[in-house]
C-alpha cells in the first residue's frame, strides 16, 4: 500500500523531479573494497614513445633501488597530497561523499583532500582553468551513473601509476552503484600529448555506515630524502 502510494506520488512529480528522486545518493563514507562484484581489470597504459622512454627509465630506476633495498622519493613521502585522480585510490584510506543537487563533495581521508564536483554546470575551457591538484570538475547524471569531467591537473601532480601527463589531461569518471552498498568509480584518462590511447581503470568502494573520518594533518613527517634521492627516516637522540 505504502509502495503504491509512493509510486503514485512519484507519478505526480514533473519529469525532472522524478529523475532527481530516483537518483542514487552517494552520501556517506566508502572504504576501498576488493570483493565482488569485482570491477573490470584495468586497461593497458600506452604512452607515446618519447614519454614511454621517460616513464620506463623512472620505473627501471625504482626497480634498481628496490633491489638495493631503497625507495626513491615521491611526492607523498614528502606529504604532498595526491590530487586527482590518485586521491580516489589511496591504499586503506576511505573517501567520503557529500551529495547535494548542485554539488558532490569528495573528501579523502589521506591528507584530508577535498574535491568539488559542480553538477549540471558547463565545463570551463581548459585554458581558463588554473592547473592544480584538483583542477575543475563538473558532473551530470547519465541515468543512475554520475559522469564527472575533470580538467586542469598540473603536470607535477603524480599521474596514474606514476605516468607523466600534460596540462591537457582530461579525466572522465563514471560513479555507479553496482550493488546496494558497492560503488565503482570508473576512471578514464585521456591525454593527447602523452597517451597513445585513453587508459581506463576502476576503483571499488564499499559503504562504511558507522565510520567516522579521521583527521589527517601531516605535521610529523620524519621521512626525508637524502642527497641521493633515497627515502630515509629521521630518528631522535632521545
Amino acid at each position: 500500500m505504502i509502495l503504491r502510494l509512493a509510486i503514485g506520488c512519484l507519478a505526480l512529480l514533473p519529469v525532472t523531479a522524478r529523475a532527481e528522486a530516483s537518483r542514487p545518493d552517494f552520501t556517506g563514507v566508502w572504504a576501498i573494497y576488493r570483493g565482488a562484484p569485482a570491477p573490470p581489470a584495468p586497461g593497458p597504459l600506452v604512452l607515446k614513445p618519447e614519454y614511454a622512454k621517460i616513464y620506463d627509465a623512472q620505473r627501471a630506476a625504482q626497480a634498481e633501488a628496490t633491489k638495493r633495498g631503497e625507495q626513491l622519493a615521491n611526492a607523498s613521502v614528502q606529504c604532498v597530497p595526491y590530487g586527482v585522480p590518485n586521491m580516489m585510490s589511496v591504499a586503506v584510506y576511505p573517501v567520503e561523499f557529500i551529495q547535494s543537487p548542485r554539488q558532490l563533495t569528495i573528501i579523502s581521508e589521506a591528507f584530508s583532500e577535498v574535491r568539488r564536483v559542480y553538477l549540471d554546470r558547463p565545463q570551463a575551457p581548459i585554458d581558463d582553468v588554473a592547473p592544480g591538484y584538483y583542477g575543475r570538475s563538473v558532473g551530470h547524471w547519465d541515468g543512475d551513473a554520475l559522469v564527472i569531467d575533470t580538467i586542469g591537473i598540473k603536470p607535477t601532480v603524480a599521474g596514474y601509476r606514476g605516468m607523466p601527463h600534460s596540462e591537457r589531461m582530461h579525466i572522465t569518471e563514471r560513479l555507479k552503484l553496482v550493488a546496494p552498498d558497492i560503488l565503482h568509480d570508473q576512471i578514464m584518462i585521456e591525454d593527447p600529448v602523452v597517451l597513445e590511447k585513453p587508459v581506463t581503470y576502476t576503483t571499488s568502494y564499499k559503504r562504511s555506515p558507522n565510520y567516522e573520518m579521521v583527521e589527517f594533518v601531516c605535521d610529523n613527517n620524519r621521512e626525508y630524502v637524502d642527497e641521493k634521492g633515497v627515502v630515509r627516516m629521521r630518528v631522535k637522540d632521545r
Binding site: S89, A91, V92, Y160, E223, M233
Partner: protein, 124 residues
Amino acid sequence: MRAKLCAVILGGAIPMLAHHSFTMFDMTKKITVSGTVTSFEWTNPHCYIEIDVPDESGAVKHWSVEMGSPSILQGSGWKFSSLKKGDKATLVINPLKTGQAGGFLNTATLPDGRALGNGPGRQP
C-alpha cells in the same frame, strides 16, 4: 604477513598508493626492545613511540619506532591514549637497515599486558 603488507601497497590490479614503502626497514629481521616510553606521538603521516631502552650494564639507548597512521592503527585497537610518557613497554620491531636506533613496529606489549599490532593485516 609480508605478503599482506605488499598487497596493501601494490593492491593487485587496482592502483593503490601509500605514503612510503617499507624498504628502509629490514622486514626479514625482528628485534625486541623493552624500556620506558618518553613520548607517544599520535600524528600523521605516522605515529611514533619514542622509548629509552636500558642494556644489561644500565646504559640507556634511545629508539624511535614508526607505526601506521592514526586511521590505520585504530583498526587494531590503538587509541591516542594507549601509551603515555613513563609507561613500560616491550616492542618487537623491524630495524632500520642503516643500523640507526629506529624501526617499524610489529607488536607492542602495553603496561596492562595487551599486545597490539600495527594496523589491519599487521596484527600480533
